[in-house]
Amino acid sequence: MSPGHPSTSSRATRVLGGLSLAGLALLLGYALVWSPADQVQKDSVRIMYVHVPTAILAFGACAITTLAAAMWLRKRSEGWWVLGGAAAEVGLVFTGICLITGSIWGRPTWGTYWDWDPRITSTTLLFILLVGYLALRRIDNESGDAAQRGSRGAIVGLLLFPNVVVVHYSVDWWRSLHQKATITRLDPTIEGTMLFTLMLGIAVFSLIFAWLLVHRFRTGWLEERAEHAGLEQALVDRRAEAATGTAAAGGTSR
């Protein structure tokens, strides 16, 4: 990325991106080669080093969206509005990855791609909650005017995290009557290199999350600006057109 070319990069994001990639390389080494296989899950445990971090970050993204919505309702500043959408969108990507990896891991471990495990169920509902929130925001964006829009999206954003929590616990309670939650199926005596790899995974995916969030935030910010610029440009064009139009009309008819 050449420094002169207009983009959403800055020195900070280049550092963040570099760290993310270096961390990812290190994580791949630990996750796929240097960490041992689990006694029960064998090598399929290696998928967990993607799955668990993305799950944590998916819920973290919801918390950020709710926080941004609350701040927007207080301050009404554009930045908070953009942040809410950026966090929800990156969160949606992470939630999707979490579901896919969980499903792939479930096949060798549980013998099925889909189990009505409390976490799968509540994460799927979280995915749909995020989709709904983003759909509403898109409509808010289309209805123009940054000053008028928003409460709608902000109210749903504000409710996002509480909803996620209520859904999570009710689903947990619902399923726990039939079976134990996932965590007890994992080897509880996780230790040593495996624990380190998991922690490294959480750190590296957090870096990637932050990096994507910053870029998505800036893109969202530019979207807002482009709308304004587009509107202003259209007005300028219209005026110029009107001016030349009348001039031309004056020239021919009189």
Partner: protein, 222 residues
């Protein structure tokens, strides 16, 4: 606030009585859903009766969606929402009033569906106090959250498609809790159902409080 609520609820219910949309369209729809379940699942009576708690609440949820859409389309004609905004009524009162009107219609629908389930699925009614308490708490929660999300979607071109995708995941806890509670009342031990009923009460209170506080902001912009 409560006087405004009574005013709004009265208005909505009067419109409802005249137009008869709930009784002539939504209630038949809910019975239709029960028939569709019987067709889709094996209409062997034993199975339907065992699943009747869940099927009943899914039917309630679908019918509630229609009732909520309806509650907000009656205002979209002739600038009704502008009139409501400039009426000087307390927004909290408007929220409670609309929620109360929806709740009353839901009670009617639930009564129709209860008769339908008993007659068509052969469900035996036991644990009546728990059934009534659950229905009451679930209805309050459905009405409160439905009113809140209904006004969010109202006035949008895509409201018919947007409301279900936003509201149904939010209502998942209501479906779970109401189903579990009904199962306990109908088949199992009633004592197992009361905690679920408590969850429904918490949900209803949460949305009633939030809606009362947030409705003013929302009404201004819908």
């Amino acid at each position: 606030m409560f006087r405004d609520a009574a005013l709004i609820a009265g208005k909505d219910l009067r419109i409802e009585l005249r137009s008869q949309v709930t009784t002539q369209q939504v209630a038949p729809f809910s019975i239709l859903v029960l028939i569709l379940f019987a067709v889709a699942l094996d209409p062997d009576r034993g199975f339907l009766a065992r699943a009747s708690a869940g099927l009943f609440w899914v039917a309630v949820l679908f019918s509630a969606l229609l009732a909520i859409q309806r509650a907000f389309t009656i205002e979209s004609a002739d600038g009704g929402r502008d009139a409501l905004r400039s009426s000087g009524l307390d927004p909290a009162g408007i929220f409670l009033g609309k929620a109360a009107a929806i709740a009353l219609q839901l009670v009617v629908l639930e009564a129709v569906l209860a008769v339908g389930v008993v007659v068509m699925y052969g469900t035996e009614v036991t644990g009546v106090p728990l059934l009534l308490a659950t229905a009451g708490a679930a209805t309050a929660g459905l009405a409160a959250s439905g009113t809140l999300y209904g006004v969010l979607a109202a006035g949008l071109r895509v409201r018919e498609t947007l409301l279900p995708i936003m509201l149904l995941p939010v209502l998942a806890p209501v479906l779970i809790a109401a189903t579990k509670s009904f199962e306990a009342a109908l088949g199992g031990v009633a004592a197992d159902g009361w905690p679920w009923c408590g969850l429904l009460v918490v949900f209803a209170l949460l949305y009633l409080t939030f809606g009362t506080l947030a409705f003013g902001t929302l009404l201004e912009e819908s």
